[in-house]
Symmetry: C2
Subunit: 135 residues, 2 copies
Amino acid sequence: MNDARLEVMPIGVVESELTDRATAPKQGNEGAPEAWLVFEPAVLEGLEGIRPGDQVIILTWLHLARRDVLRVHPRDDPANPPQGVFNTRSSDRPNPIGLHEVEVVSIDGRRVRVRNLEAVDGTPIVDVKPVLRRK
Amino acid sequence: MNDARLEVMPIGVVESELTDRATAPKQGNEGAPEAWLVFEPAVLEGLEGIRPGDQVIILTWLHLARRDVLRVHPRDDPANPPQGVFNTRSSDRPNPIGLHEVEVVSIDGRRVRVRNLEAVDGTPIVDVKPVLRRK
């Protein structure tokens, strides 16, 4: 493994009624409740231009994940043959970065309400990007 | 800014004929050449199940980016009004994580050839995920 170390700084945190990784939906479109993204005051300027109704990608740091796992049963179902973690959306992986496509519902200062986020309460947010649709 | 520090470990590196950020395509579908992803031997097991023809998402660490920028002119064009970086795909952002949707062309041991990658030569790779299509 390469020795270079790259440091991520949280830019905010997820506030959600989901608190248990085991019972949270596996994907945001599988029954996730609405949740708040609460951003650090220092990065608010970076949100300029984002509006209710926008589809955005949230990158999170899946702080409850295991980083020493390279093969998993997809969807935690032992009936599924093991796969390399990079061929799954498992949160267990060497760099536990979560990728979530969500819809912005409303914006209230540094609090952004979103739909379709399966991350649990307390998950650090590390980036936000607009969705680019294929031409 | 939150004090928690989260550390990313590179799992591989991009080999590309693109060497200059200024002249590289802004998005992978805007004329990026084929490139190699060269993975660390320690993580190869994690690639099991990925096949030529698969569409995958590559997360990279955009090591040439500025992390102290919160507003940019989209697409580096001064004619575009400034936007918050989180409403753009600018590589300059607090956590310079690149998100690239690529197609796997071939796999040769720890070298994976891909199409549509705009990252420059030497860019660290931090994660690989399958593309999930909307239902």
